[in-house]
């Protein structure tokens, strides 16, 4: 047993450094935040470099820190009305409708659709949801069998990618607000992980 592969954690890396690293030591995978809420990798060159060099992608925070799950609907007070506003900011209406239709026809949960959507994008992406609850683990792993037609989902628009920095700031603000909500409640059930800034 020994270290087998190199995986680059790419939060602050540019695509040039991926190429340089790959030239020295074969890179097995990149690790980026990627979800229905964070689609930067599609437009910022990450997908392109993965495809070109045969590198996989490990998608962390695939459930948007819980924002793409039912859990957060239940945890947040209705009065805060933060979730619809958040989703409309990051996801187009068409994307929301598509996800909702799949959720109903597949009899799947929001989280399962969010994971299945990632897997449908490219065959070389592996999402890594985290959870402290057994039933959420079962829900997440069952998403592997929830095949959806990724082609029906509208492609990522560059316009949104251009606002990625702003989006990240908004996501951070919402995450902070959610932590306040969660602080006085039992552990969140699904995917609500803090992402360390330098990781």
């Amino acid at each position: 047993m020994k270290a087998r592969c190199v995986i680059l954690d790419c939060l602050n890396r540019n695509r040039g450094s991926v190429r340089r690293a790959h030239a020295v030591q074969r890179v097995a995978a990149l690790q980026n935040r990627y979800s229905l809420l964070e689609r930067g990798p599609e437009a910022n060159g990450t997908f392109q470099v993965c495809e070109e060099l045969g590198i996989g992608l490990i998608a962390y925070s695939p459930l948007g820190k819980g924002l793409l799950t039912e859990t957060i609907n239940n945890e947040l007070d209705a009065g805060e009305a933060i979730l619809p506003a958040l989703r409309s900011r990051f996801m187009s209406d068409a994307l929301c409708r598509c996800a909702e239709r799949d959720r109903r026809t597949k009899k799947a949960t929001q989280a399962q659709i969010a994971l299945a959507w990632i897997m449908a994008k490219k065959p070389w992406i592996v999402p890594i949801p985290g959870t402290t609850k057994l039933h959420r683990l079962e829900e997440n792993t069952a998403a592997a069998d929830c095949n959806i037609n990724g082609g029906r989902y509208f492609p990522h628009r560059r316009r949104r990618a251009a606002g990625a920095t702003e989006n990240r700031g908004a996501l951070a603000a919402v995450s902070a607000a959610c932590q306040g909500v969660f602080a006085s409640k039992p552990a969140p059930e699904n995917g609500f992980n803090l992402i360390l800034g330098s990781a």
């Binding site: 897997m119 065959p123 999402p127 992980n193 360390l196 330098s198 990781a199």
Partner: protein, 120 residues
């Protein structure tokens, strides 16, 4: 569980992995160590073979838990970890990435010591 190859690397893992960051103290809700180990093993039982951890989660404690949980199935799973952070041993705070190369505690095969290894 279906499997996927990460690019053309030859590294084949379960289509859905497990992010371990949230199962140890220091990253959100605290989970008892035995419960965390049980959760990771439950993932193995459901076909998950890709586990993600990092030296900086905890720091160190997450790697230790993941290593302990997966020791019996080490040859059947893939563990991804991350290193290179400047961790203050006193406070556990990470000041960024500046460990010089080679400073990461590793065994003769370059495997992270904190995760542990099975001698085989």
């Amino acid at each position: 569980m279906q499997t996927r190859e990460l690019g053309q690397s030859g590294l084949r893992v379960s289509a859905i992995g497990f992010g371990c960051m949230g199962i140890s103290p220091g990253n959100g809700p605290v989970m008892e160590k035995q419960a965390a180990i049980a959760q990771i093993r439950a993932a193995v039982e459901r076909g998950v073979t890709m586990f993600d951890t990092a030296e900086v989660y905890g720091p160190f404690i997450n790697e230790e838990i993941v290593g302990a949980a997966l020791a019996p199935v080490r040859d059947q799973v893939v563990i991804a970890t991350k290193f290179g952070f400047d961790i203050n041993p006193g406070t556990g705070q990470s000041g960024g990435r500046k460990q010089p190369s080679g400073a990461y505690p590793q065994d003769n095969d370059g495997f992270p010591k904190t995760v542990g290894r099975r001698d085989d």
